[in-house]
């Protein structure tokens, strides 16, 4: 009887955990996709990191990445 009375609180807690964890996973995966697309787009336009090309163009040579 007590378990039935408390069931909404237990289900609510597990549902909240599911939403928060699923939200975190979705955030990380969508962010990764966004950044990869942005990098691919820049590379398509010829903007690449100095270390990523054999013969760097002038603007690339000036680039000193902080990270």
């Amino acid at each position: 009887m007590e378990a039935i009375n408390h069931l909404p609180f237990i289900v609510g807690a597990y549902a909240a955990a599911f939403v928060v964890i699923a939200g975190l996973i979705a955030w990380v995966m969508l962010d990764f996709r966004t950044q990869r697309r942005a990098l691919a787009d820049l590379e398509m336009r010829g903007v690449t990191r100095r270390s990523a090309v054999e013969r760097p163009q002038r603007p690339m040579a000036e680039a000193e990445e902080k990270v």
Binding site: A3, F9, A17, R36, A38, L39, V67
Partner: protein, 242 residues
């Protein structure tokens, strides 16, 4: 590969790409095992079935504090050693820590209503945990306010170190003040006061949550490194065209 080698962002990316599928798999297995144990755990003689909420609430509380602890160490790395990955680690940990702290507050409220008769009380433990959540929001807002990542990192590092004062307050609030929240029952001098049939699922769930945190943190750090590369390349492109 040593930890020093991983300090290089490119090497860290290679490590993350290799480690994340494995970490994800181990995390799923740990959660499957932990949830199975949690659902099979007996009711507590006082809490009844609501003890099952503890299997979410306690690991969330630990991780909320662990994330701020990691951010504090990273803040030292930013301010003292200017480590290239320190502010990346701190920035990536903040939203994850905030999410676990929020989950701790929500599950605690859902446990409190049937056990204490109220969702919320301005108890020292609950209030200091709420302060931690607000500190997380403050740090996230600071990161978003300052455009230059290195300037934002220094400001966020100072706020993080100031906020670290809240960690011992959370931990010892139940000893220092007369609180409605129960005292330490897992890690305490003299051993745990929890019966093994409930302690084991709790510890397994804590391991699963910790693995999830590590996986998400590494993934978020990878995203942050890529975001900074995108920013640098866009700046280069703007300079080249101007």
């Amino acid at each position: 590969m040593s930890l020093v080698d991983l300090a290089n962002p490119s090497r860290f990316l290679k490590f993350a790409n290799r480690a994340l599928p494995w970490l994800g798999g181990v995390t799923v297995i740990a959660f499957a095992f932990g949830l199975n144990q949690a659902m099979g755990a007996p009711d507590d003689y006082q809490q009844g079935a609501t003890v099952k909420i503890m299997f979410l609430h306690v690991p969330s509380a630990w991780l909320g504090m662990l994330a701020w602890g990691i951010m504090s160490i990273a803040a030292l790395g930013t301010l003292v050693w200017r480590h290239p990955l320190a502010d990346v680690a701190a920035k990536a940990a903040a939203p994850i820590g905030a999410a676990f702290t929020l989950l701790c507050l929500v599950t605690g409220s859902l446990w409190g209503r049937p056990e204490w008769g109220t969702y919320w009380v301005w108890d020292a433990r609950l209030t200091s945990e709420l302060v931690l959540f607000l500190l997380y929001l403050g740090v996230i807002a600071l990161w978003r306010t300052v455009e230059d990542p290195s300037r934002a990192a220094r400001a966020a590092a100072i706020l993080t170190l100031v906020g670290a004062v809240d960690l011992p307050i959370i931990k010892f609030s139940v000893d220092w003040w007369n609180t409605l929240h129960q005292g330490a029952s897992v890690f305490r001098l003299g051993g745990s006061t929890i019966y093994p049939t409930i302690l084991m699922p709790l510890l397994v769930m804590a391991v699963a949550f910790t693995l999830l945190f590590v996986t998400l943190h590494i993934a978020a750090m990878r995203n942050e490194i890529l975001r900074r590369r995108v920013r640098t390349l866009r700046l280069m492109q703007a300079q080249a065209t101007s």
